[in-house]
């Protein structure tokens, strides 16, 4: 069920602090042979101008589907999306198929995990950047090309003028990701959505791409939503972080505080499982597996894997996401627990 709010109904209200993106109650379900299964369950988060917000979790936790829904990429017959996502006064979930492209690629830029696969092999990279510019801006071919070259130059691609005329297969993975970033930035977006932007890259190239993202953010004041499974990257990049598990946000807050003092057992489990917290030569792994979406346990989705789960409570009801002093936690026992974070050992 899609909320049918007209664009006027969600006219922006000036708030403090201002929100660039406000996602409320986003729920995405997909039709499967076993009925509707809920990939994203009542996810809410917001993004202020110029900040980086992380969406973190393992595969199947709904972080990518959340992003795709914001871009209108889950509008299919086999999917239903509800909730709202207000961006610069428009509800992205309610925009018509005609209105959406005016925002997508223009006010919101996107980069994906596999840069080489996201580019069209049959066109030069310069053409692909210029195409986006010409689609959204009233400029001629020459001007669009000039801007494309300037962008490549900004992203420290050597010999940009010549490289713009080359095809994607002559670019390495890190260079392809720079081209993707150039496309995403070509229309000066206010928000950049980055879905695992460095997962397919080598660590040194990853470091370079993360540096670039930080630099363009400082220069242009762009807000970034960063989807990642790597807590190290999240620590280095994100001002605020949402930890997701089985379609739900289980913990959200300031990144530094959240990592130093987790309040959800899953967050603690992820941190304790890292190599730096090895005990006696063994990693402290979270037992069990992420449940498949059609076999979610009753009650807290994490309870079957949780060392602190209390029978009778945790397996009875899905705990609400409770907001307390800037931190949101979805755990019945979070007040009683004294969880260990980074640097406590």
């Amino acid at each position: 069920m899609t909320t049918q709010a007209s664009p006027d109904a969600v006219a922006p209200e000036v708030e403090s602090p201002p929100r660039l993106l406000d996602v409320q109650g986003l729920t995405v379900e997909f039709r499967t042979s076993a009925g509707w299964s809920r990939a994203v369950d009542d996810v809410s988060f917001d993004v202020h101008p110029g900040e980086t917000v992380g969406l973190v979790g393992e595969s199947g936790c709904g972080k990518s589907v959340t992003m795709l829904s914001l871009l209108g990429l889950t509008r299919r017959a086999n999917a239903r999306v509800s909730g709202s996502a207000v961006f610069e006064g428009h509800d992205l979930l309610a925009l018509s198929a005609k209105e959406l492209p005016d925002i997508r690629g223009n006010r919101v830029g996107t980069i994906f995990q596999q840069p080489a696969r996201s580019l069209n092999p049959a066109f030069t990279v310069g053409e692909q950047i210029a195409e986006t510019i010409r689609h959204h801006r009233q400029v001629g071919r020459k001007e669009a090309w000039r801007r494309a070259v300037a962008l490549l130059d900004d992203l420290s691609i050597p010999n940009a003028e010549k490289r713009a005329g080359e095809y994607p297969h002559t670019f390495s993975g890190g260079m392809c990701q720079r081209v993707m970033i150039a496309i995403a930035l070509s229309c000066d977006p206010a928000l950049l959505i980055a879905d695992e932007p460095t997962t397919a890259l080598d660590v040194t190239v990853q470091a370079a791409i993360l540096d670039i993202l930080r630099a363009i953010q400082d220069e242009r004041g762009i807000a970034i939503v960063l989807v990642s499974h790597d807590l190290g990257i999240v620590n280095e990049m994100c001002d605020r972080t949402n930890i997701m598990y089985a379609g739900q946000v289980v913990e959200a807050g300031d990144t530094g505080e959240l990592l130093a003092q987790p309040r959800h057992p899953y967050t603690e489990g992820l941190l304790q499982g890292l190599p730096e917290n090895m005990v006696g030569g063994r990693l402290q792994a979270i037992p069990g597996n992420v449940p498949p979406l059609d076999e979610l346990p009753d009650g807290c989705h994490f309870a079957p894997r949780c060392a602190y789960a209390r029978a009778g409570d945790c397996d009875a009801v899905v705990p609400p996401l409770v907001l307390d002093d800037g931190r949101a936690v979805r755990c019945l026992r979070s007040d009683e627990l004294d969880l260990v974070g980074v640097g406590a050992r």
Binding site: A207, D211, V234, E236, P275, L283, A285
Partner: protein, 279 residues
Amino acid sequence: MSLLEVTGLCKSFPTRRDALGRVREQHHAVKDVSFSVEPGTTFAIVGESGAGKSTTARLVLRLIEPSAGSVTFDGIDVCALGGRELRLLRRRMQMIFQDPSSSLDPRVSVGESIAEPLVVFDRTATTKAQRTERAAELLERVGLAARDRLKYPSEMSGGQLQRVAIARALTLHPDLIVCDEPVAALDMSVRAQVLNLMKDLQSELELAFLFISHDLSLVRVIADHLAVMHRGAIVEQGPAEQIFAAPSSEYTSKLLAAVPVVSGPGSRQRRARTVMEDA
């Protein structure tokens, strides 16, 4: 004596030939690589993509022929062996690949996949019941249930499939398992479980691992000895602890500095990092 002794290993691939088919240009994927692996220990090779790690792994198993150099396994020169002897030696050296969903046959139950090496090598020496029993025993060994042998790969998660791949590698009681990025495709919570399993199996079964990875934080968990490869050559090797504590090559230091860590300075103290030029 070392279990595996690699000396001066080289491999080059032709990239351009002239009209007569003579090689005019070649790419040196592996250049003069030497190392040794002791029984029951883990030797890790780390490096970025294109460094020659996987090519080295394949050369060790002689899945591809080296251009020069030698590989000695338990005193036997692997490169000098012919078909039958090579097959016999391969019982003792197994491999685990990165993506278990593509390295297991989707049309065969996992129990049959695990028992298949016995069909290939010991068809007459074992009965079908014995092979089934061995598969069930191995599944329990890697933390799955014996009844899972009836499942097909499509019914299992990535972490479970990698356990199956490990079980299959253990079927013939090998001395060495070459693991090419064995946990790179797994989720973080499952990754820790699989690494723990590998460590347990190593101490119980006296296995040696040749562990190929691009992820230094994983290598830190499992490696006893470590070689860092860059552009086909080993730039540094030695005991893992020593390299992590005090890397002697500049390349290793850069690699270590590039790994994002949770305990490092956060987004607010964005650290200036040594950024390497993306080649």
